[in-house]
Symmetry: C2
Subunit: 315 residues, 2 copies
Amino acid sequence: MTTFNSAEAYAPASMGNVGVGFDILGLAFCEPGDIVRVERRLDGTDIVIESIEGDGGVLPRDAAKNTASVAVKAFLKMIDASSGVCISLKKGLPLSSGLGSSAASAVAAVVAVNALFGEPLSCEELLPACLEGEALVSGYHADNVGPSLLGGITLITGTSIQDIYRLPVPENMHFALITPNIAVPTVEARAVLPQMISLKQMVSQTGAVARLIDALYRNDLQAVVQAMESDEVVEPARAMLMPLLNEARTLAKQKGALGLVISGAGPTLCAVCDSSKTAVHVADALQGLYDEAKIGGVARVTKVDQTGARVLNVL
Amino acid sequence: MTTFNSAEAYAPASMGNVGVGFDILGLAFCEPGDIVRVERRLDGTDIVIESIEGDGGVLPRDAAKNTASVAVKAFLKMIDASSGVCISLKKGLPLSSGLGSSAASAVAAVVAVNALFGEPLSCEELLPACLEGEALVSGYHADNVGPSLLGGITLITGTSIQDIYRLPVPENMHFALITPNIAVPTVEARAVLPQMISLKQMVSQTGAVARLIDALYRNDLQAVVQAMESDEVVEPARAMLMPLLNEARTLAKQKGALGLVISGAGPTLCAVCDSSKTAVHVADALQGLYDEAKIGGVARVTKVDQTGARVLNVL
């Protein structure tokens, strides 16, 4: 097995649900993303977290409790290696923001350590190790790990690689994201969901998901966004956790967006636009909305990341 | 307005649900189908049912109570005509069998009467009149009327023509149908459905519907059928109304079918095969199964009707 001394990888942010596709759809954003650097340890066989930047000191430095190191440990077990590895994590993603932060760290770490060992596993084979890391924080689920690892828009119906389907990405799909300065822990966003729904709601939800997949294949961005917004189950339950949701949607549409949905469990909101110019206008307007309301937040403009996680360098 | 003396039209049978797509998917079968002949009345302005063949005398001859005549009446109102029309109906479809019998009669009648008046309306514009007829028996819903009128595999998310989407039809999609000699009234098949389902079931159901649409676009028949069969809500509730359902599925698969689902509200079962030869084998086996069980039934082999309802002749 060829091994290197160090490797660095990038994994993109992602949006679970993509509106109406609760727990079955995910989408990778070009940015933001996390960068993980791993180094072979010459002085021990443990996994050590050397540094974390950009998390405001919040993430655990204990390797047993960090999503990146737990994922690396699972990878090393898969390839039956008991090497020592040092991990340095640069968080580009805000935490608990509905952008798949823990998934991006786990994915970047696994892609980096796979490169460190000369890529013994294919990209697809890395999924279980990434899921082990993600499970520590968000449960054993691939709706962020899948798109962050593979890129694109993905349908996720299980936790094996054969349960993840790449869907077509419409041309000219641009996003304006606003991440308000509030925390919405995923556990809280899950707690407000109804445990039971009516059969009629199921029909509405399956119909909207079907329209979404159909519209993706027909490259009909307007129909895609209309379907994304047709969620009658999850968004209504979570709306109260998202300050200014309705105002943000109305404003985004006034500025030319085709629609707006909650990214994952929120609080990030994602407006979909048909040009980068419109996305910039919408992002500016959303930033203004949250600033004026004294909530504040970070606005971003991005697109679908078609590549997924990638190695930045190997030495 | 050009008018003729008589016109005859054919409308195909259809399968609501297509497995997992409860109340949102429908599919037209090449056969069986209903034929309706309409004639201009020279002796009155009423709508009269002249004859019905093939129904065993069960269907109402009263024009106010028959799906075909009610649909014709709605059509005549749409074009603002108050002509008298005679209707002759040849039922090719068994009643209450899960093959869209009432829809086929309504659709054939409307397509025929539209031809009688020189086709003042487009095929799509005929939908509301067809729905009026269907509503008399099965509720105002387009899951059988849509495919019977338009052909193909359709996604139906409402009762307007813009809520009906044609989906791709996989190559080599062949069916073996068995209609056991038992009646399962739609109202009874609806009564057994759960009113509430869990959020987890919704996720499973939306995921399976998404896989189905994706597989149709990818022309992957095996994945299509696997998704069709992944219904965890409706089929389990209705299974007790369908004698030998599990045995029929097992037998069909032994004979080479890719899978088997309940057609609409049943009792017809639909096995999906990848060749006409296999479909013939499977149909024979299913016929044998129900004959041996002293239930009896009618087995058929068919394909997707891509055309939908059509005019047979105009004089």
